[in-house]
Amino acid sequence: MQVELTVNGKSRSDDVEPRLLLVHYLREVCGLRAANVGCDTTSCGACTVLLNGSSVKSCTVLTVQTAGQEVTTAEGLAADGELHPVQAAFRAEHGLQCGFCTPGMVMAAVGLLSENPHPTETEVREGLEGNFCRCTGYHNIVRAVLAAADAGHIEPAEVRS
């Protein structure tokens, strides 16, 4: 069926099977491969994207459920060649090791900071509980999110979904 939605600010209209999961739509139809398929069971968070500004696990959303809505992937964060503050902080604080969890971790962090622009360390850890880093590089990830919050420039947003 035909579905119209906005992906990283661009309107799209695609003919998709109702059972096409959002993560497969993004990777295989849109060619956006930042969101990874990790556990495929709503646990690991590697497929996290923003849906109307709120973090969601795209392995557990049907593409047809996003009709008329806005999806943002890690590819949509950087503007005019400038890294998003969260991306810049992940680089500066070395918030990654193998990198597989990173796009989902970054999107979860962007979602977290839009709801809570000045989180405590505990709030960051709890806010990222839906994202696994199997390199166990959590300390630098948390440091990166706190650094991004300190750097500011994160627009507060209401919880929408």
Binding site: T41, T42, K57, Q65, A67, G68, A108, E129, V159
Partner: protein
């Protein structure tokens, strides 16, 4: 993992969804809201509905408002909205706390109260909270609407008293600002379902994962009403229960947990 093929239709209104359910009465149609119970089951092919009727974007099924001495919550209200609602936090804090215990932030952005109740996992947070609070589930069907009391809603393992063709429209919870409540959830991993859970408010005590449905700890409730101390009442928390056994806990350990968690829930009421 890919779900089996199905037809998809987005309902225009709650009544349209009911009409579609009736039209597809012979088709194993399922309602879809956040999809955070249904889609994982479909990906595992534990559920293979032939039609999905999407009610997730119906504004009539969303939102939270006060109505007399109750709070009315639209069935498609996500857990994150419930957990963050000033009204719910002030006047039904047990429910806000329970919603905040479900899964993780991403799951709470998608999962809905109506979906969680209809799924009726005995280990889940919101079914236990509904039972502790004594709320009412308002359903819509071809013959009109009716309310189902929390005590009558859960009928078996992943089964409810919803009739075929009925959808949950809203959930009503008594307003109880200032009422002391306690909530305990025993897990071994972050984000998990309760190995055993306990929720207490007023004279009611509900248990999660102590049987095929969320349960009232009625012997403990009776003892409390007759003047027993929280510790004495909690000793009766597992009375009459036949909890299941799995890799996390055998039956006797679950009974032990129920006694400990009910004592903690009662002693730490705030």
């Amino acid at each position: 993992m890919i779900p089996a093929p199905f037809d998809y239709v987005a309902a225009d209104s709650p009544q349209h969804a009911v009409d579609l359910l009736e039209r597809h009465a012979d088709d194993d149609a399922k309602l879809l809201a956040g999809g955070h119970s249904l889609l994982p089951m479909m990906k595992l092919r534990l559920a293979t509905p032939s039609v999905l009727i999407d009610i997730g974007r119906l504004s009539e099924l969303r939102g939270i408002r006060a109505d007399g001495d109750e709070i009315v919550i639209g069935a498609a209200t996500p857990h994150a909205v419930l957990a963050g609602s000033d009204l719910v936090r002030a006047e039904a804090p047990l429910l806000a706390h329970s919603a905040a215990q479900v899964g993780d932030p991403q799951i709470r952005h998608r999962g809905t109260i109506g979906g969680s109740l209809a799924h009726a996992d005995p280990a889940a947070d919101l079914p236990m909270a509904l039972l502790a609070l004594g709320g009412t589930v308002d359903v819509l069907g071809v013959d009109g609407s009716r309310g189902i009391a929390a005590d009558d809603f859960f009928t078996g393992f992943f089964e409810t008293s919803l009739e075929p063709g009925e959808l949950i429209a809203s959930v009503r919870i008594p307003r109880s600002p200032g009422a002391a409540w306690g909530y305990q959830k025993f897990v071994r991993r972050a984000n998990d379902w309760a190995i055993v859970g306990a929720a207490a408010i007023g004279g009611r005590i509900a248990l999660a994962n102590m049987g095929p449905t969320p349960l009232r700890a009625r012997a403990a409730e009776r003892a409390l009403a007759e003047g027993a101390s929280p510790a004495e009442a909690a000793e009766l928390a597992a009375e009459g229960t036949e909890p299941g056994e799995d890799v996390h806990a055998d039956r006797e350990y679950r009974r032990h947990l129920a006694r400990v968690l009910v004592r903690r829930a009662l002693e730490n009421r705030t």
